[in-house]
């Protein structure tokens, strides 16, 4: 069967304004209402999956229906506000700063900004904090480290700093790539080849954690800022293409933590 995703509903570009002008609804509000429709569509799959398994497979209706309904409303409203805020603040800000750095400030300031953005946003990332704490507890159970709270806390903290440092370096490498116009695939494939080699030498306990740490580093606020930085830089530098050169920063941010965490595991052993 010929399968074309683009024929699925919701794809035709939205008409810019469907409202007759005499209604005069403020643009922010109109935008919010339109985004709310998208949010409901985005959340439909997860709500159906939960309902299907809960009712049909496990054969039980959730007991506090009202709480769940209120929660779902919060999720939809939250996603709507986030997407609206993205267009108003994160994207334009990231792009205008990229543009500013391309025009003045010089490469040193740009690279410092890249590192600060990567390190600063990762070190406090809740998903990372959770995974590091979990990993430290598991490491203590497997007697990789001493089973006392101080050792566990230190291990979790060190792991967090290693990952945050790795993400900072990743954004720096990614920005250098955009400035120089290097093709992305050599760097990424080379990086993964390094991951393969290190996997052979790293202690077994650290491998899964290293692989996961690459996936949890990029948060909801970091991703739009970093994407806007890359696309903004590629658009401001002559001879760079936003599609070809602007994307790819996130890819580095999920690669370097694997390398650094495995390196940390090898050194710590």
């Amino acid at each position: 069967m010929a399968f074309n995703f683009r024929l699925l509903p919701g794809l035709p570009p939205r008409p810019q304004s469907r409202m007759p002008s005499r209604f005069r609804i403020p643009p922010i509000l109109r935008n919010l209402v339109r985004t709310l429709g998208d949010s409901v569509r985005d959340l439909a799959p997860i709500i159906s999956v939960i309902a299907f398994f809960q009712i049909l497979v496990l054969g039980q209706a959730p007991n506090d229906f009202l709480t769940i309904l209120a929660g779902l409303l919060c999720v939809a409203a939250g996603l709507t506000l986030f997407v609206a805020g993205l267009e108003m603040a994160l994207f334009p800000l990231g792009e205008s700063m990229a543009n500013g750095f391309a025009r003045k400030g010089g490469p040193t300031a740009l690279l410092a900004f890249a590192f600060a953005l990567g390190f600063g946003t990762t070190v406090a990332e809740p998903a990372l904090v959770a995974v590091c704490a979990e990993a430290a507890r598991a490491a203590a159970e497997a007697s990789v480290i001493a089973d006392d709270p101080a050792a566990i806390a230190r291990y979790a903290l060190e792991l967090r700093y290693v990952v945050a440092f790795a993400v900072g370096i990743a954004i720096v490498i990614g920005v250098v790539r955009i400035l120089m116009g290097w093709p992305i695939h050599w760097l990424i494939i080379g990086g993964y080849a390094l991951v393969v080699v290190m996997t052979a030498f790293a202690p077994r306990e650290i491998i899964s954690i290293a692989y996961d740490s690459g996936a949890v580093t990029t948060s909801t606020i970091t991703v739009p800022m970093v994407t806007a930085l890359g696309v903004g830089l590629a658009s401001s530098i002559r001879g760079r293409n936003p599609m070809l050169d602007g994307f790819g920063l996130i890819a580095f941010a999920s690669l370097t933590p694997m390398i650094f965490v495995m390196g940390y595991g090898m050194v710590a052993n």
Binding site: A76, A77, A89, A116, Y192, A215, I221, A251
Partner: protein, 254 residues
């Protein structure tokens, strides 16, 4: 009340997460670039929207979706363990893994952001919803394979390395302009919605299946999402070109 406490702690937590970004932006914008904001009121309102939005989103997930999802993973695992160790007894777990991988990815805000940007930059030749469906199918496949790995106790690196070998081969054949975007979609797939549910599934399975070690087998389920999302997006790009060549309407040109 629980509700109010959760609301305040989530809002506070979100503010704390936004703080490093605001600091970095303020330092570089005003001290290094020495420029004012082009549209300060709009940007500030946008930031307030982002903070409120993420906080509301998390509060909702925490009250409506996470408890149900985690409980479900636990119950399905217990059912399967009680049923025996055959392939069919685990059928519901595989289906759950696939469905949760797909549906959480569709709701992932970072992916919405990146896909939207890609649609805008490409001038509409990259279908935003199509891209997200491709990523979600990739994540669903990856998580399902990851669950298979935990149940049978196979080493994680075989799968991940095999996945990246496919990525390398596809990279050589896929349209060049889609490669960076595909690599990025591998990284953004797993975030706010996906990680808590998938991690609960992985750790729950590794704890329940006899002979599995949570440290070695429980982690790593999230890592399955990235290579398979990349494979899926590259395949989507290749497929679109193929369709365009066949003369059908739709696929991205070039």
């Amino acid at each position: 009340m629980d509700w109010i406490e959760l609301a305040f702690s989530t809002l506070f937590g979100t503010l704390r997460d936004v703080l490093p970004i605001v600091l970095v932006v303020v330092v570089f914008q005003f001290l290094v670039l020495r420029r004012g904001l082009a549209n300060p009121i709009r940007v500030l309102t946008g930031f307030v929207f982002v903070v409120l939005g993420i906080a509301l989103f998390l509060i909702g997930l925490e009250t409506a979706i996470f408890p149900l999802g985690r409980g479900m993973a636990e119950q399905l695992i217990n059912q399967a363990i009680a049923g025996g160790s055959g392939w069919l007894d685990y059928g519901w777990i595989y289906l759950f893994a696939f469905a949760i991988g797909f549906s959480t990815t569709m709701a992932e805000p970072s992916l919405i952001a990146v896909a939207g940007k890609a649609g805008e930059i490409s001038g509409g030749s990259v279908g935003v919803l199509g891209l997200r469906i491709a990523v979600a199918l990739g994540v669903a496949t990856g998580i399902t394979l990851g669950v298979y790995r935990i149940i049978y106790g196979l080493p994680i690196h075989w799968f991940i390395i095999a996945g990246y070998i496919v990525v390398v081969i596809q990279t050589a054949m896929a349209p060049r302009k889609m490669v960076p975007l595909a690599y990025d979609s591998g990284g953004v797939t797993t975030s706010t919605v996906t990680v808590p549910l998938v991690a609960a599934l992985g750790l729950g399975l590794a704890g329940a299946v006899p002979g599995r070690n949570p440290l070695i087998d429980g982690f790593g389920l999230i890592a399955f999402a990235a290579p398979f999302a990349i494979i899926s997006v590259l395949a989507y790009a290749q497929l679109s070109i193929l369709m365009a060549r066949k003369g059908r309407t739709g696929g991205p040109r070039k």
